[in-house]
């Protein structure tokens, strides 16, 4: 993570070396390096899947707004908090400068 906020330097990316399983009510991440398990609710699971495919934060917000009847400001705040928590858990990486980002 290098102490940088994942939202400040571009698209946050999901670490590819952790196990993710989709569950009926969200998802589960197992980090075999830290031996920690992270439980995700439906919203966090959607954000994680976005990070897996390298989606822009705006795309995640739009996807959530399409699934839930919540205003953009609230959704954007929720996505931000979720990304912070995933980042604090050591589950995200930031792309290197110059790395190709998805449109």
């Amino acid at each position: 993570m290098g102490g940088s906020h994942p939202m400040s330097t571009g698209c946050p990316r999901a670490r590819s070396d952790v196990l993710y399983r989709e569950l009926a009510d969200g998802g589960l991440i197992y980090d075999s390096t830290s031996r920690q398990v992270h439980h995700l609710n439906e919203t966090a699971a959607l954000v994680w899947r976005g990070c897996q495919r390298g989606a822009e934060i705006g795309a995640m917000v739009e996807e959530l707004m399409g699934s839930y009847s919540v205003d953009e400001q609230t959704v954007r705040a929720d996505v931000g908090v979720t990304l912070q928590r995933l980042s604090a858990g050591g589950l995200l990486v930031t792309p290197n400068p110059g790395e190709n980002l998805p449109p």
Binding site: A24, L28, Y30, S32, V37, H39
Partner: protein, 170 residues
């Protein structure tokens, strides 16, 4: 319909009858699901079908489902690494049901897995035991074929049918 029938139908993918179930029926259903190790599957089927689980039972079912999912994911990840290492050492291990049945369930939260049964070729038994000990596993005193280590319990079997546990040899 009995509670047993209701549990069978619900966990088989037909939980619609639960939408009309009363409080006593739900209590009996959840108790039976707990006894049979089917809480996670019941929870999952209800979510899939949009059946509202009474708030009285929701935390128990959700907790059980998530706990089973967590344990299974961790166990299967460790097992995968162990099988890979065993294969590199020329050891042939076959995973017997139920770990190998997990893909038939909706997800990892739906089937609790106490131990993992492994089929071992008799000619490799001693080598497999040595391999497991070298990887931090210990065998139970009264059951030479039962190994525990790193949160995993492995049960070694020599036979595919009537797979009795390997008898203590001392």
């Amino acid at each position: 319909m009995t509670v047993s029938d209701l549990l069978l139908r619900s966990t088989s993918g037909y939980p619609e009858e639960l939408s009309e179930a009363g409080s006593d029926t739900w209590s009996g259903l959840v108790d039976l699901a707990q006894f049979e190790g089917l809480e996670g599957l019941l929870y999952c089927r209800c979510l899939e079908a949009g059946i509202e689980i009474p708030s009285r039972h929701l935390p128990q079912l959700q907790w059980s489902y998530r706990r089973v999912a967590e344990r299974n994911c961790v166990a299967l990840t460790k097992l995968q690494g162990l099988l890979k290492a065993a294969s590199s050492d020329g050891l042939d291990l076959l995973v017997l049901p139920g770990a190998s049945l997990l893909p038939l369930y909706p997800d990892e939260g739906c089937r609790p897995m106490d131990d993992i049964d492994l089929l071992v070729h008799s000619s490799q038994l001693e080598a497999v035991c040595s391999f497991l000990r070298a990887h931090g596993f210990e065998s139970a005193q009264r059951h030479d074929g039962l190994f525990t280590g790193g949160g995993l319990t492995l049960d070694l079997h020599l036979y595919l049918v009537n797979a009795d546990r390997i008898q203590a040899r001392s």
